[in-house]
Symmetry: C2
Subunit: 251 residues, 2 copies
């Protein structure tokens, strides 16, 4: 398997055709997976915003005041307002704001980015990244497209790449029922391949000024497996989410 | 960046020299990262065990009875005993057993594997996987070695590859202080590269009978960044762990 960063992409503007920009820069093959950073999808979709667009309501003011008290730094309630407007549930409000976005992703601050945005304060995540992936996929002669983001996670330090949208392949492949080397059946083994592809792409994509937001994964084989588009856990099976709903930060 | 599965590794036996088996099968380069699945590290280190080795104490019997009630399937209290003996904290005991292993990893059933183990019931994780990685690294002419496992996570379906030990490189690279495309400073951006390498390797390693447990990552560049070996979160900064300690499964 090989990963190729697409060179020399310009700064993406609203309305830009990402698929065309990629096609011009790399000879794609039918079985390639094209991983696209959500930042450029957001830019192409015009998901720039300004804090002034989000006059803060009572809930946002309450959250910002509490986060300000905890951090000792003033927090802009308009940012909290933007997060609330991008979210369908606040799972945890302190010591940071963890929410579910409208498309089911659980992340800090609804994935709103305050860096890398010329001429605006904020860059929101794509509205429905799987639909974004489908639109890009329609215009690329490749097997599949993954829209990636980076985020932190419980138990482990640091951020890693994750998939927030995908098209052309299932999110996961299913190894259940296959024999191991002893001929015994493998247990619970559902591999989330789109997240792993996003993580792999992030190793070559980089961040900041030198970043290359599109990475082609070549010679990845999904193989002859069942697949599933279960990607974001339902609340019923997400015990961490249930626990966080009940928990109160004490500090 | 390229990923090469090492072909034709034999079934690993206690005492086998994994580094030698890899060197015989692939022309390694000085800058390569060699990712080794924890299953074969465990096998080489003789971490096989049998349920009979773990006579269940009162706590294990209590946990197994509760998990049996929840699942409607009888649970062997000796397995719960093995998990407890491999763990330094039980974070959640129902509806599944989530613990911290002695080396700081948080996972279900302390990562104990019940498949893929000829002639024994259980395969325990390596005792201290970073020391395992260092030993393998000492015998390989490469930049670094990562010992990998697969596990599930909150919020997102399916399992993905993670690093549980590493040698020759820091766990994370630090992008803080670097400018973005607008010259603004990037915010909190610590990238856990060893987890991303493990995820990438898992895409080509596979599971079960056809699995290739060693993957060489070629042309990965860590780059000129600060690094950190923070990998498993301290409890103080792990709010999910704090929440899970207080939460009680109700079902």
């Amino acid at each position: 398997m090989e990963l190729l960063a697409v060179p020399d992409l310009p700064e993406i503007q609203p309305g830009d055709d990402i698929a065309a920009l990629v096609r011009e820069r790399v000879d794609l093959r039918a079985e390639d997976v094209v991983c696209v950073a959500s930042t450029i999808v957001s830019k192409a979709e015009g998901r720039h915003a300004n804090l002034a667009d989000f006059p803060a309501g009572p809930r946002a003011k309450e959250i910002a005041a509490r986060l300000g008290d905890i951090s000792g730094e003033e927090k802009d309630p308009r940012f909290a307002q933007a997060v609330l407007e991008e979210s369908t549930e606040v799972i945890m409000e302190a010591p940071f704001l963890l929410t579910e976005t409208r498309f089911g992703h659980v992340g800090v601050n609804a994935g709103i980015d305050r860096s890398n945005v010329p001429g605006s304060d904020l860059l929101l995540l794509p509205t429905r990244p799987t639909e974004s992936a489908e639109r890009i996929h329609d215009e690329l002669p490749v097997e599949s497209v993954v829209v990636t983001d980076t985020c932190g996670r419980p138990f482990r330090h640091g951020q890693r790449g994750v998939a927030i949208g995908w098209a052309g392949m299932p999110a996961s492949r299913d190894w259940r029922g296959e024999p191991d080397r002893d001929g015994r059946e493998l247990g619970v083994t559902v591999q989330n391949v789109v997240d792993e592809l996003a993580a792999a792409a992030n190793l070559v994509a980089g961040e900041g000024a030198g970043g290359t937001p599109v990475v082609v994964v070549r010679d990845f084989e999904f193989g002859d497996h069942d697949g599933s588009d279960n990607h974001f856990r339902d609340v019923e099976g997400d015990f961490v989410r249930q626990a966080l709903r009940q928990w109160e930060f004490d500090g």
